[in-house]
C-alpha cells in the first residue's frame, strides 16, 4: 500500500498555502528548536551522562539544566521530581502502573474520568489484569467532571485518581485544585495524577499550587520534538519502575538519556513560557477568529466543549452536521489544510470519539467533528485561508451525503 502514498502526495502538488492545525496529533517543530537540538547529535554532549569522560560530563550538565528548567516551568520543588520519558504516553503509563504497583498494599481502586485520553483510559483498564478496578467519573455536556460523583467514588481503598488538567479533545479546563481537595478529604493517602499535556504552555500550571502528586507533560504538544515527555512525581511518593535496564540520571526510567530530544523539549518549553501571556493571547485570538469565522460561514454546526475562560486557548472542536469527518479531512488535505476528526471511520470498532459520546453528542455529530488547535506560530493569513477554503470543502462533502444519514 505504500506505493499508493506517492500518488496521494502527487494529488497535493500545486498547493499554494499549507495550514497545519492537527496539533493534537503531532506538531511542526520551529526551526530554532531544531537548531538548538542538532549540535547534541554530533558536536557536543554526545556521551552517556553517567560516564566519566568529557562528552559524558557535557551531557550530564545539559540534562541537569533541563531537569531544572522543566521543574521550574511545572512548578516542582526540586529537579529530582522530574523524569523524562519518551512521550506523554509513557509518562501516563508510568504514573498509573508505577504508583499502582507501589501502593497495592493500600488498596486496588483507581478512579479516572470517562474522557481521559487513551493512554490513561486503556492503562487503567489494563490494570484489571493485575487485580485493580477502575471507576470512571462522568462529565457534563461541556466535559467538566462531576465532583459529587468523584467524592462518592473515592474510599479508603482508592490508591490513585487520574484526571487531565485540560481535556485533549474539548479543551475543558478541569477544576483540578477542587478535585484534589475533595479526594484528599476523603482519603489523604490517595494519590492524584493529572495529565497536563494540554495545559502545559496554554494555561497557568503549578503542581505545588494544585497539590497534585503526579503530573504528565509532553513535548510535541508545545511544538517540541516528538518522542519526549516528562512526569512529575512529588518528592517522597513511592513508585515502582515499569521498565528495567541500565539506570542513569533518573531512577524511574532506564536507558541512555536522549540528550538532543531533552534539549529540544527544553527549548520548546522556553519559547512557550518566556512570552507566555503573548503566546496564549495569540492562540486565543486565532482560535476565536477560526471558530467565529466557521460559524459565520456555515450552518448546522455544534460547538463541542465550553466557551470562554474555562477552555484552553488553542482548542477548537466543531461538529459539522450532514458531513462525514474522514471524508472532510481528506478534502481539506487536498487544499493544504490539515485537521483531524472524531469520526470512527478509521476504526474497525465503528465507534467515534469516546469524549464526544461522553458529553452527550449523537453519533452523527461525533462522526462529523473536526479538531483543530492553534499555535503561536500560525498567522492571520493562515486562518483567513482556512475560512476561505473550508466552506467549499464542507459543501462538497455535504453534497455527497444529500439526505442520507440525517437522523
Amino acid at each position: 500500500m505504500v506505493e499508493n502514498v506517492k500518488e496521494l502526495l502527487k494529488l497535493h502538488e500545486g498547493i499554494t498555502h499549507e495550514v497545519y492545525l492537527d496539533n493534537e496529533n503531532s506538531s511542526i517543530v520551529p526551526q530554532e528548536v531544531v537548531d538548538a537540538m542538532l549540535p547534541y547529535y554530533n558536536k557536543k554532549a554526545y556521551g552517556n551522562p553517567t560516564l566519566t569522560h568529557k562528552p559524558g560530563w557535557e551531557a550530564f550538565e545539559v540534562i541537569m539544566n533541563s531537569f531544572q528548567k522543566i521543574a521550574n516551568y511545572m512548578g516542582a520543588k526540586i529537579l529530582e521530581e522530574i523524569t523524562f520519558t519518551p512521550s506523554e504516553t509513557e509518562a501516563n503509563n508510568l504514573a498509573i502502573m508505577g504508583t499502582a504497583f507501589a501502593q497495592k498494599s493500600k488498596g486496588k481502586k483507581i478512579v479516572i474520568s470517562e474522557i481521559e485520553p487513551i493512554n490513561v483510559l486503556q492503562v487503567a483498564e489494563m490494570m484489571g489484569k493485575f487485580g485493580f478496578s477502575t471507576t470512571k467519573i462522568p462529565v457534563n455536556n461541556e466535559g467538566f467532571i462531576d465532583l459529587e460523583k468523584l467524592k462518592e467514588a473515592v474510599d479508603n481503598e482508592t490508591i490513585l485518581v487520574s484526571i487531565s488538567a485540560v481535556n485533549n479533545e474539548l479543551g475543558t479546563i478541569q477544576p483540578i485544585k477542587e478535585a484534589v481537595d475533595i479526594v484528599k478529604a476523603k482519603n489523604p493517602q490517595t494519590l492524584f495524577h493529572t495529565d497536563a499535556s494540554d495545559a502545559y504552555g496554554r494555561i497557568p500550571l503549578n503542581v505545588q499550587d494544585l497539590k497534585v502528586d503526579l503530573a504528565t507533560v509532553g513535548s510535541y504538544k508545545i511544538q517540541g520534538p516528538r518522542g519526549m515527555g516528562a512526569m512529575y512525581l512529588r518528592e517522597g511518593v513511592n513508585m515502582e519502575r515499569i521498565l528495567e535496564g541500565q539506570i542513569g540520571t533518573q531512577k524511574l526510567w532506564p536507558g541512555v538519556e536522549n540528550t538532543p530530544l531533552i534539549v529540544g523539549f527544553t527549548k520548546a518549553s522556553e519559547l512557550a513560557f518566556e512570552n507566555f501571556e503573548a503566546n496564549t493571547a495569540k492562540m486565543r485570538t486565532l482560535r476565536d477568529k477560526l471558530v467565529d469565522g466557521i460559524f459565520n460561514e456555515l450552518d448546522d454546526l455544534r460547538f463541542n466543549g465550553p466557551k470562554g475562560d474555562k477552555r484552553s486557548p488553542d482548542n477548537a472542536n466543531i461538529s459539522i452536521l450532514r458531513c462525514e469527518g474522514e471524508a472532510l479531512t481528506i478534502e481539506l488535505s487536498l487544499k493544504g489544510i490539515y485537521v483531524s476528526s472524531g469520526s470512527a471511520c478509521s476504526r474497525r470498532l465503528l465507534q467515534p470519539s469516546h469524549v464526544l459520546v461522553a458529553i452527550g453528542r449523537r453519533f452523527s455529530e461525533a462522526h462529523g467533528s473536526i479538531l483543530m488547535k492553534t499555535t503561536r506560530s500560525l498567522t492571520e493569513e493562515d486562518i483567513a485561508y482556512v475560512l476561505e477554503s473550508l466552506p467549499t470543502a464542507v459543501n462538497r462533502i455535504r453534497g455527497i451525503v444529500g439526505s442520507t444519514g440525517v437522523d
Partner: protein
C-alpha cells in the same frame, strides 16, 4: 481513538474527488438504504429499472468515508445496463474490490455496504412490484446483506449506550 494509516489508491481517490452517478434520482423505480449513521456509514441507492428488468440508471448518496463514497460510485457504474439477474449474480464484494484496485482491510465494512445496498434494492424491487421472486433470487441473505445487517445491529447496540442528553436531542 485507535488509528491506522489509510493510503487510498488513485482509483479510490479519483472516485472520491469526482464521484460518478452522485445524487438523488427523482424518478427511481426503487430506493434502498444500508448502514446507519451511528457507525459513520450509510448509503442510499437509487435504481431506474425498465419493464424488462434492466437497470437503466443508478445513483447514490453516501454519508461515509472516502472508501464508502468510492465503492458506492463504482457499483453504480458497474450495474448500469445489466439485467437484475446479472447484477445480482455478478456484482459481489470481491469483484467490486478488484475493480476499485483494493481497499485497506479496515475499510472492508465501508465497501461491502455498497454491495449490500444493491442486493437489498433488487430484493425490494420484486417485493414492491408484488410479483414472486425469480428463481435466481435466493431467500437466504447474501454475505453482503448479512454484513449490512450486522452493522445495523451494531449501531442499535451502540445507540443504547448513548447518554440521556443525546436521546433527548434526537
Amino acid at each position: 481513538m485507535s488509528r491506522i494509516p489509510l493510503p487510498y489508491n488513485p482509483k479510490v481517490m479519483d472516485l472520491f474527488r469526482h464521484p460518478k452517478n452522485l445524487g438523488k434520482m427523482e424518478d427511481a423505480t426503487v430506493v434502498a438504504v444500508a448502514g446507519n449513521p451511528a457507525c459513520g456509514d450509510m448509503i442510499t441507492f437509487y435504481l431506474k429499472i425498465s419493464a424488462q428488468d434492466i437497470i437503466e440508471r443508478a445513483s447514490f448518496e453516501s454519508y461515509g468515508c472516502a472508501a464508502n463514497i468510492a465503492t458506492s460510485s463504482i457499483v453504480t457504474e458497474m450495474i448500469k445496463g445489466l439485467s437484475l439477474e446479472a447484477a445480482w449474480k455478478d456484482i459481489t464484494w470481491k469483484r467490486v474490490t478488484d475493480e476499485i484496485g483494493g481497499l485497506p482491510s479496515v475499510k472492508f465494512h465501508c465497501g461491502v455496504l455498497a454491495v449490500g445496498a444493491l442486493k437489498r434494492a433488487i430484493r425490494q424491487y420484486f417485493k414492491e412490484k408484488g410479483v414472486a421472486a425469480p428463481e435466481w433470487l435466493p431467500n437466504e441473505h447474501t454475505f453482503e446483506e448479512k454484513q449490512a445487517l450486522e452493522e445495523e445491529e451494531l449501531a442499535k447496540t451502540l445507540s443504547k449506550r448513548l447518554k440521556p442528553e443525546a436521546e433527548k436531542q434526537s
